[in-house]
Amino acid sequence: MFAQTVWLIPCYPLLGVLLSFFWSPALVRRTGPRPVGYLNLFTTVVALLHSALALKAFWHQPPQFLEFSWLQVADLQLSLPLEISAVTLGASLVITLLNLLVQIYALGYLEADWGWARLYSLLGLFEAGMTALVLCDSLFFSYILLEILTLGTYLIVGYWFNQSLVVSGARDAFLTKRVGDLILLMGVLALYPLAGTWNFSELAVWAETAQVRPLTIALIGIALVSGPVSKCAQFPLHLWLDEAMEGPLPSTILRNSLVVATGAWVLVKLEPVIALSPWASGMAIAVGSISALGGSLIAAAQIDAKRVLSYLASAYMGLIFIAIGSGYTDSALSLVLTHAFATALLIMSVGSIILNTVTQDLTQLGGLWSRRPVTGLSFVFGAAGLLALPPLGGFWALSDLLNHLWQDQQWLSLGIVVATNAVIGFALVRMFGLMFAGDRTPMTARAAEPFWLVVLPMTMMAGLTLHLPLAMNRLGLLTEQLPQGSQFSASLAWILLWSSVLGIAIATFFYIFPRRLSQNQTQDEQADAPIGSAVVQGARQVLARDFYTEEVYAMTAIALVDRLSRFTDWLDRYVIDGLVNLVGLTSLFSGEALKYGNDGRSQFYALTITFFVALIGLYMGWSYLMDWLPTQLTANALSLLP
């Protein structure tokens, strides 16, 4: 019963979204907007229960498929297929569960906010969109949902629209994701004539026997990978995630843990198609490698608490891209899962700090450990969950990936994964040190743990992160590599563990010890990198400014579109319309400026049109003329012959 009605799962939050409209501050005047929060909380709980019960019913069952017809036109049939299986229902359970916690967190974090109707309707939209995405089995509908989520991102980042950085952040998030979406759309358009289907399951079957020209499939594969590149905030389309940090923090939790992973999910589903072309999978690995290492390095140099975590999300997604590009979809899904929980927890704890220290500047924080131990411990658990530190989830997921890479002798990727893990460890411990160690600062002089509605979901999230390995074990995500126990597996685990320890140790040495020893140092000295040489400072600056990606964008793509649009505008006004305006000018000089209807002007309109008509006529008949003229000429020429 719960299985056949899984299509209802996205409908509950969607209903909440629709009802939220009635609490718009333009409509509700005498009472406040809070009921909308409770309402959406309720629909989320219903969706969560439904997911859980359906999952229970589907445990160890083969997947089932449902199909809803949407549109049939000409020779195109669009129907919405749903895949109901333990995996999709499990994903939907994770999504609704995290949504529930985030929505509770938002009750506390935004308790003084008046825009709940918009916030909760958008959170609900994300919930509905993501549950629909994991349940749906069609590339076409996945594309539709991703596009709608792109719009949702625009609106939720633009939530505090009074503020200018929010507005530009929303813009950039929308446009960057849209670029990815449209490249994906190109892939979607191109794939159908070849495969004849958009259903993932049928695509997988098709891919087994597909005979396609290498260039064609390479281009399609690259297009299909490019869409998720922007979703998952991979280089070079990663900047939006940083700017999206202007949005309200609860939405950030959701975005960094789940929404960025939607791209990875689609990519996992498309893996058979991508594997058809070494170019496409190579691109996934390359992009993932750059993002993993680059993102974690950038994160290690940020001074903004939220932005450290945003770049770490990029980095972790990079690891997932490596996994998908190399064909290990199971590792990729484990990574998605562990990342979602750990990241959500990290952001929740950072939000709990920001909420009552009024700053997210790491250089202005410090000395919070003794007074904020709940948040501190949550941060530690989150960091441990993300890193390869046994027994938490990140360790198992990463060592699983590492094992695969070892078996396939992907040494470069293996090195990148290990190095990234070390850098992530460094970045997280550095952040921990800057926030919690040392003496208190003017910003942290008074810091009590905040409202219980913030702390409660945070501690629950911490509990979930700690118990994730057990759940993964139950789900069979760990079994694959644990029983092997062969030699390289164990040594790999050690390598991984040592890389984490190395990163942690270096950061501890630079950011926790000095702050504990000499607490009299001024904030600036403490905050800046411990090593003072110009080269290091320069490198730090490059990293802190995100490799100057923003500036590069501004000088390239943005400048190009801007210049081009100005040019065509100029062209339009002065060249195409200019033939007309020329007369306007002559008449201006001859003192007849305002006589628009005069004959000279009309003649020029006519002249312009005639000119272009002749041109277009020539163009339209060109191919024909080319065929026709020679024959005529030959005929004439022949006729001239005696």
């Binding site: 501050p25 333009a26 549109l71 049939q72 036109v73 000409a74 020779d75 195109l76 594309y143 539709i144 949902l145 596009e147 709608i148 792109t150 625009y154 609106l155 629209f161 009074n162 503020q163 200018s164 507005v167 929303a170 813009r171 929308f174 446009l175 849209r178 670029v179 449209l182 190109m186 358009l189 191109a190 159908y192 004539p193 020209r213 064609t216 281009l219 579109v561 801007d562 649009s565 100005r566 065509t568 505008d569 339009d572 195409i576 007309v580 628009y596 209807g597 002007r601 009309s602 309109y605 049109i609 272009f612 008509v613 277009i616 006529g617 163009y619 339209m620 008949g621 191919s623 024909y624």
Partner: protein, 502 residues
């Protein structure tokens, strides 16, 4: 059955204009609205009578008029006409509804609006080339007055430009029609008999080119478009709705009916060129829109881009792309009308359309929150966000055209990306941002101003979620049009291009 679509508005127009009673602006508006509403209801009834499976013309009406000239009163309806007539009836009602109560010289204004509506409906229904031409020209005069009397600054300039361009279009179309008679040696201008005429390919090409250019001016296609931004900007919002929503469709309708329909062989030859032209139009319109500072001008350029998709679908002439193109005409009409209506409200309340000046209209108490929300909706619909009608029609065009013109189709997809760019600029500047506390004492938006917006927005959403209600009407017609075009060329192109260009 079809005549009321023409004669109801025209009679109404005459009544409002010449009834000797005194009439306030409000009464004139109510009268016009009642007539437009009746026409709209009549159109709805037509839908119930329409035979979906029938690809040929339906509900024919015939009256001999001047048979010696080949001119007869000959009306009929197929899927394409039905969509266009419906759009006309709806947008006429919306345009009249959105006209402010305080319009000057109201009787003249509303009778002209109804006149335009009746003439346009006639043009969409005409089964006789000369009748089409007459009605096509008839609509021109009232519009000239609507622009030059009730327009904004530079209205004379814009009206003259509009008149001259459209008149030139008319001349070309007339030349084309007469050319058919000349080459075909028959002076029967009824559509059916013209269809029977066999013309040499050479003549077909010449005539087709002339007609495409003639109608292309109306659409408009680059480079014949420069009248359009000036005119849209100068025209008052209701007139702009008629211009952009309905009259532009006369151009694409003409290309479908009298270009593709009459010269299928030549069509298959010029199609690749036409598709390129359409793509250039799409990219040119979209890119130029980005640089605009005036919302109306921006929307005008966006319209150039969106009409390009219609032409792309027509050039590809697959069943899917044709259905897509016809639906795209409707969806573009709805979205454009919504945009112009909202811009009209913004201009009325805030007193400017300049993107550099506008700010923070999302503010729930002092801004225009509902208008902003709908502006976002319509902008996103135009940018092709799924769930709204703009997406599915564009998608059908793309999917239908991809197999024929893959590279050009992908270029047009880039065009939708550019659309997103300028609509985000528009929304960011108008809706987002902070209200200026020195100036933000704007008036309230009345319920009357909201109704048309809600109606259009509801259609945009409902047809976006349930597109079969939009696309089915034109399926049979599209199929029969495609069937008329020689298939060999199609197949040849379809196979040649993807492999060579991909």
């Amino acid at each position: 059955m079809l005549s009321p679509l023409i004669w109801l508005p025209i009679t109404g127009a005459l009544l409002i204009a010449f009834l000797p009673t005194q009439m306030t602006a409000k009464q004139a508006r109510s009268g016009a609205l009642a007539i437009a509403g009746t026409v709209l209801l009549w159109t709805v009834w037509l839908f119930t009578q329409f035979d979906l499976g029938n690809a040929t013309f339906q509900m024919q009406e015939f009256l001999p008029w001047l048979p010696m000239l080949g001119l007869n009163y000959d009306l009929a309806l197929d899927g394409l006409s039905l969509m266009m007539v419906a759009l006309n009836s709806l947008l006429t009602w919306v345009a009249i509804y959105s006209s402010p109560d305080k319009t000057e010289r109201p009787r003249f204004f509303y009778s002209l609006m109804l006149m335009v509506s009746g003439a346009v409906a006639g043009a969409f229904l005409a089964q006789n080339l000369l009748l089409f031409f007459l009605l096509f020209e008839l609509e021109l005069i009232p519009l000239y007055f609507l622009i030059s009397v009730w327009g904004g600054p530079k209205r004379d300039y814009a009206a003259t430009k509009f008149l001259l361009y459209t008149a030139s279009a008319g001349v070309l179309i007339l030349i084309g029609f007469l050319g058919i008679a000349w080459f075909g040696h028959s002076f029967d201008f009824s559509y059916e008999s013209v269809l029977q005429v066999q013309l040499p390919l050479q003549a077909q090409l010449i005539l087709l080119t002339i007609l495409i250019v003639g109608f292309g001016i109306k659409v408009p296609l680059v480079p014949f478009h420069t009248w359009q931004p000036d005119t849209y900007v100068a025209a008052s919002p209701p007139v702009a709705i008629m211009l952009g929503g309905v009259l532009a469709k006369l151009g694409t309708y003409g290309i479908f009916r009298f270009g593709m329909g009459l010269f299928p062989e030549a069509w298959s030859i010029v199609a690749p060129g036409l598709a390129t032209w359409a793509t250039v139009s799409v990219l040119y319109g979209s890119i130029t829109a980005i640089a605009q500072k005036d919302i109306k001008r921006m929307v005008a350029y966006s319209s150039i881009g969106h009409m390009g998709y219609v032409l792309l679908g027509a050039s590809a002439f697959t069943k899917l792309s044709l259905v897509g193109s016809i639906s795209q005409m409707v969806s573009h009409g709805l979205i454009l009308a919504l945009l112009f209506h909202l811009v009209g409200i913004v201009e009325d309340k805030v007193g400017t359309r300049q993107l550099d000046v506008l700010n923070g209209l999302m503010n729930p108490l002092r801004g225009l929150p509902m208008v902003s929300a709908l502006l976002i909706l319509s902008g996103m619909a135009s940018a092709g966000i799924p769930g709204l009608v703009g997406f599915i029609t564009e998608f059908l065009v793309f999917q239908g055209s991809y197999s024929v013109f893959p590279v050009l189709t992908l270029c047009c997809v880039v065009g939708t990306g550019l659309t997103a760019v300028y609509f985000v600029i528009l929304i960011n500047r108008t809706c987002f941002g902070r209200l200026d506390s020195q100036t933000a004492y704007y008036g309230k938006v009345s319920a009357d101003e909201r109704v048309p917006a809600f109606v259009l927005a509801a259609l945009v959403v409902v047809l976006g979620l349930q597109p079969s209600w939009l696309v089915h009407w034109s399926e049979a017609t599209s199929a029969s049009m495609v069937a008329a075009i020689p298939a060999a060329e199609t197949v040849q192109i379809a196979e040649a291009i993807p492999e060579s260009k991909l």
